[in-house]
Symmetry: C2
Subunit: 385 residues, 2 copies
């Protein structure tokens, strides 16, 4: 996607020499869909990005400006003024700012300002990997997913970059995600497809139940390919995007602070998909389930406890629990084929799969989470992140 | 309260020689109020205790039978049969069974049965401290609160015993509480006063957001004192009971698995008390707030994040935050009197006090919680509890 220009730089603050400032310039005729945190204290950059997105001046260039290390959140009116000051010189650009990092501290305008200045000069000279590095905070790894599909002999390209490793909770978290495609697609359709792709990915992961002030997901279509979205290709394109979003979400959970396990929780059979998700999320956020996973203790009683601990009603006799393919509980009792040893085998895996049925409907929801380790506590107790 | 007979014994299982089985026999004319877990999988003993409480045969003796180490939860119809078998020989007793410990394992009927047999023989020979010890699981300390008040020259006695150290969440948890008084009071009034006392105590504490299958609170009035509840003394008696329940709740939080801090969170100014409680609870359950407390890092941005992370609406400009008496945030910005050093001083304390105002109403709610330590993870990952 040559039409997307990347420039990165370092502000030499929290992460030393490492890149921590990035600009992405997209063609002026791109369509951009943005979804943002529902936290009641959206950070200053979230407010500005939202506002500027709805007032894009098509005569100007459009660029994303991302800094890592300082979230510019809980900074009140000063936080907004800081953004205005920092970008005062970019008069011919629609500025979409994104920040993650510490909450409650003012931006160092001089350092970040200079770093953005350098990144802007570098536009076109940095690559996707540089970009993925620049936006990391406590992430251990860059998160990049690339995909191309062929439709009628023409190639459509997709590239997704995300960051995030804690404060992850349905409806997104200290998470930034930027997915680009060269598909031709209307803004309206792009918004719709974006919401669908988020629902089964970023809105279905939870690391610590905390949702941040800065979460943002952007889906950007540059329209430079020869293919437009159509009835015939819509399904394939949506599936490709859902794959990309899901892979990014999975990467975030796998990189969760201190995580040693990826836990997927599927809940089926309740009245609505939403009820299934509520129960799945409650299991995913149970400290007792998460510590059992960390300790590789197949303590399925804790899973049952977490299932029963919401306001969703169901017939307790229908409770059916599997770990992977292993039947644990069925017909109101422990399955005769279950043994502690077989349970342990499932909990020893890097990916633990919990599957629960609570009724006969065909509704289902799947949530991803990580375990809770001593390292999570260390990382969040010992360092200001 | 000599009219209450206590007998304790050991089943020589999970806790070796330590007492783990207790019986409390109360006078037949006692009034007993019971409040139980709202978990959708109530344990077998909870079902039986609830049923027997509503069908007390006043011609029989009445006794509480409590075992520690096995919760008899998630044991299906077998769990109920086990209770019937174990207590088959106590035909002349209204049996109120209570269990806490591991979920999903069958009771060892022989060992517990024999231990109850011994405890029954010991009735009248054990004391309150023995009782408090017998019901402990991972508790480090017995939890006993005694109080006497004088009304018109007559003494009314109160004694409360509780256990619990995790799976603690509003609406109670792996928590048992037994409060006794010799006050004369009708069953109806007792139920009312019991609910009120629970609301500001057990229903306002949370350790890990998990609510257990076995939580039970009993308030028992033997009626042996010369004083009856009356309009004139109702306020004093309710306050005394609220004090006792609050002290027991505080003891549970202080004894929370791995806890090093007691955190009290007061939220004021929202439309209803319930809204205040929802926000307070969300802060109390935030892993990022709890780990910051453990690390003694006055990272108030995480508190703000947790405040904003519910579906309760408020005017973000009204957000007002104090740590103890220290003003942190006010008038949409960091208070000029706040410094990192002063914040640190508040977070160094054993009891951290968070006070938040989000509007102008006089509604308020206070929730107690503990910090999240590496030891919490160890205790819940390394041992089956």
């Amino acid at each position: 996607m040559k039409e997307v220009k990347i420039g990165c730089s370092s502000s030499y603050q929290k992460y030393g020499k490492r890149l921590d400032t990035a600009i992405i310039q997209v063609p002026s005729n791109s369509n951009i869909s943005g979804l943002f945190t529902s936290n009641k204290f959206p950070a200053a950059p979230v407010k500005v990005a939202k506002r500027n997105l709805t007032n894009l001046d098509k005569k100007k260039k459009t660029a994303l400006f991302i800094n890592a290390g300082n979230a510019n959140a809980a900074t009140g009116p000063e936080g907004l003024k800081d953004i205005n000051k920092m970008f005062a010189n970019y008069k011919d650009v629609n500025v979409l700012p994104f920040s993650t990092g510490v909450i409650g501290e003012r931006l160092d305008l001089q350092r970040y300002g200079k770093s953005f200045f350098n990144a802007y000069k570098n536009l076109g000279r940095s690559n996707w990997k540089n970009f993925a590095t620049s936006i990391m905070t406590t992430d251990k790894k860059e998160k990049i997913v690339k995909k191309s599909i062929k439709i009628k002999g023409e190639t459509i390209n997709f590239i997704g970059i995300a960051k995030g490793s804690a404060m992850i909770e349905p409806n997104m978290a200290t998470m930034l995600s930027f997915v680009f495609t060269d598909l031709k697609i209307s803004k309206l359709k792009l918004d719709k497809i974006h919401r669908l792709a988020c629902e089964s990915s970023f809105n279905s992961i939870t690391i610590d139940g905390d949702q941040s002030t800065n979460d943002s997901s952007l889906l950007i279509a540059t329209g430079s390919s020869l293919i437009s979205l159509s009835k015939a290709n819509e399904k394939k394109i949506l599936e490709t995007l859902q794959d990309i979003f899901y892979s990014l979400a999975e990467k975030i959970v796998l990189d969760a602070e201190g995580a040693t396990k990826l836990i997927s929780i599927t809940v089926k059979g309740l009245k609505t998909e939403n009820e299934c998700k509520t129960v799945a999320k409650n299991i995913a956020n149970s400290l007792l389930v998460k510590t059992a996973a960390f300790g590789e203790d197949p303590n399925w009683g804790r899973i049952l406890m977490a299932v029963g601990n919401t306001n969703i009603s169901f017939d307790e006799k229908k409770f059916n629990l599997k770990l992977g393919k292993l039947q644990v509980f069925r017909n109101n009792k422990l399955s005769s084929s279950y043994s502690e040893k077989l349970g342990l085998k499932e909990f020893k895996k890097r990916k633990i799969e919990i599957v629960i049925k609570l009724g006969d409907s065909n509704k289902t929801s799947k949530v991803l989470t990580s375990d809770l380790s001593k390292d999570y506590v260390s990382m969040n107790a010992d360092y200001r992140s």
